[in-house]
């Protein structure tokens, strides 16, 4: 039996060694587009490293991951050592990660970022949003760079038959549609430009809410098409809007803020060199590009996000 005992200890030692070894080699892999870029052979580059090593994070939906690879790719092409932490999750997860330096750069959307930073913010126009963000973003130890022209806003959509039946073209028209249920991400319930905004800005009283946590993705779409909900909040650059002939309700009272793409970067990394590279990318990024990238990403051949980003970069001459 003493053999057993030695055997046990030996196994424990092997297991421990295995554990350490594996923990060492699984640093920055990712789903949806491969792992770290060519220049990041050193692996888990952290915020404390030199200014030329950057960890790019992204939210957990395709478009944002592609944007992360676009900005990261442009930096890698200019000699930065870039690694990625894609698909981190909701804003409440990746912004704190930026704040404590686990990531250094993340593509954001101006309006949502502002309402995260300042719960009472009411700015709608691009400039007001920009100054609102600039005033608060210091709390994240980060800096907002130039806004891209590209925007991906919330948009409320109904099926074309429902629109025809109730005569709907704008959000205000929902008041004559009786009780409707709106599907959106869970945070729509607490955001000032969510349900609360629909009530206060448009005076809609008969709205119910159904949280579906996929950012206007397949579940939201199915719920809308099945009439489980009558209105769906789907990001405006989502191809499914066109593909399913949904009617996007206009927003005459500007409930939804400008949601231009804005890269935010750790202050410690924000050299003028980096800023000029990133701003250069933002200057060429259009809403059509986003729609195009999203269409390709959900197309039948399911290309990798990183490959899509690379193609966009070479097409635009980066």
């Amino acid at each position: 039996m003493s053999i057993t005992r030695r055997g046990l200890l030996g196994t424990a030692a092997v297991a421990a060694a295995l554990t350490l070894g594996l923990a060492g080699c699984a640093n920055s892999s990712s789903i949806g587009g491969g792992s770290s870029s060519s220049a990041a052979a050193s692996g888990g580059a952290t915020a404390s490293g030199d200014a030329k090593s950057i960890v790019v994070g992204s939210a957990n939906f395709g478009e944002n991951e592609i944007l992360g690879y676009i900005y990261g790719g442009a930096l890698a092409n200019k000699g930065y050592s870039v690694s990625y932490k894609p698909a981190i999750g909701a804003r409440a997860a990746y912004l704190p990660a930026l704040q404590n330096g686990e990531i250094n750069l993340v593509p954001e959307y101006a309006g949502s970022l502002l309402s995260y930073l300042d719960k009472t913010a009411n700015a709608k126009s691009g400039d007001a949003v920009k100054s609102g963000i600039d005033a608060k973003i210091g709390t994240l130890n980060a800096k907002a760079l130039d806004f891209a022209e590209a925007a991906d806003s919330d948009s409320l959509n109904v099926t074309s038959s429902f629109a025809k039946e109730k005569g709907l073209t704008s959000i205000a028209d929902l008041s004559k549609a009786g009780t409707v249920t709106i599907a959106a991400n869970p945070e729509f319930a607490t955001r000032p430009d969510g349900i609360k905004g629909l009530q206060s800005v448009y005076g809609l009283k008969d709205v119910k809410f159904k949280a579906i946590n996929d950012g206007g993705g397949p579940t939201t779409l199915k719920a809308l098409l099945n009439d489980q909900v009558q209105v769906a909040d789907i990001y405006s650059t989502t191809p499914s809007i066109k593909q399913n002939k949904l009617v996007t309700l206009t927003d005459p009272k500007n409930l939804f803020a400008s949601q231009q793409v804005v890269p935010i970067v750790s202050t410690s990394k924000a050299t003028s060199d980096l800023e000029s590279i990133v701003d250069g990318v933002s200057a060429k990024l259009t809403t059509e590009d986003l729609l195009d990238l999203n269409t390709k990403a959900s197309g039948s051949d399911k290309p990798d996000y990183q490959a899509l980003a690379k193609a966009w970069l070479s097409e635009k001459g980066f």
């Binding site: 999750g89 909701a90 409440a92 599907a183 991400n185 869970p186 945070e187 319930a189 607490t190 349900i195 709205v207 119910k208 809410f209 159904k210 949280a211 579906i212 946590n213 996929d214 397949p218 579940t219 939201t220 199915k222 719920a223 099945n226 489980q228």
Partner: protein, 245 residues
């Protein structure tokens, strides 16, 4: 403190009616229980007959163990994703949770029957009982505590896991957890977790009481299964995938 705030959150009557314009605790609780109940009914419909057949005849045990253990390895999140990509409706969701419930209940059913002393069964047979009578009047009562133990395992598993459907837009107590996560509201999130845990434990406690009374008189409780030592029994249902060792 997070925990106390979460308790307060739960005790707030407003939250029972509605939370952030959505279903309140009462409605989510109802949805959660209903889905769990459906899953449990289907689980029983599958696992009990099969488990009783295996336990009574001793046939097909190896096969059942392998199937149950492979099923155990299937990640619920992945399976739900596939099924809900195909259709957004309750049936596939329930089906996933039936898979979760089957292994423990199946194991409970056949382990319960196998634990019945062979001599007791032989005696029943010698008394002229039919197989059906043996199953119903001898094996089932003696196996009841273990079968209910399996049912408890299945119930815990199902109630805790039903939380997942919220990720796919179906109502359950998981809505509070995901909503809290999205809005950075740890209090609501903790409250959701507490609600699920308390619900699971309450139902489990209820079944434990039933289990206690289910043991026939004359059978010592804790050991519900008085067996002769070194019996043929081989029930490593805890052994995943392959049994050979």
């Amino acid at each position: 403190m997070l925990f106390l705030q979460a308790i307060q959150w739960i005790l707030d009557p407003e939250h029972w009616a509605a939370v952030n314009f959505q279903a309140g605790i009462a409605e989510e609780l109802g949805a959660h229980l209903w889905l769990s109940f459906l899953a449990l009914v289907f689980t029983a419909a599958v696992a009990l007959p099969v488990g009783l057949y295996i336990g009574h005849t001793g046939r097909g045990r190896g096969f059942a163990i392998v199937v149950a253990n492979v099923v155990r390895a299937v990640p619920t999140l992945g399976l739900l994703s596939v099924l809900l990509l195909v259709s957004l409706a309750l049936p596939p969701a329930v089906f996933v949770f039936v898979l979760l419930g089957v292994p423990p209940l199946l194991a409970g059913a056949y382990a319960g029957l196998e634990a019945v002393d062979r001599q007791t069964i032989d005696a029943s047979r010698a008394m002229g009982m039919t197989e059906w009578q043996i199953l119903r009047r001898v094996e089932l009562p003696l196996a009841a505590p273990l079968i209910l133990g399996g049912l408890r395992g299945a119930t815990l598993q199902i109630i805790a896991s039903v939380t997942l459907v919220s990720n796919f837009g179906i109502n359950s107590l998981g809505d509070f957890i995901l909503g809290g996560l999205a809005a950075n509201d740890y209090v609501q999130m903790t409250a959701g977790a507490i609600l699920v845990t308390v619900l699971a434990l309450l139902v489990d406690g209820l079944l434990a009481v039933v289990q206690r009374f289910a043991a026939p008189r004359g059978v010592s409780r804790g050991r519900g299964t008085t067996t002769a030592r070194g019996r043929r029994l081989s029930v490593p249902t805890g052994t995943p995938v392959s049994e050979g060792n």
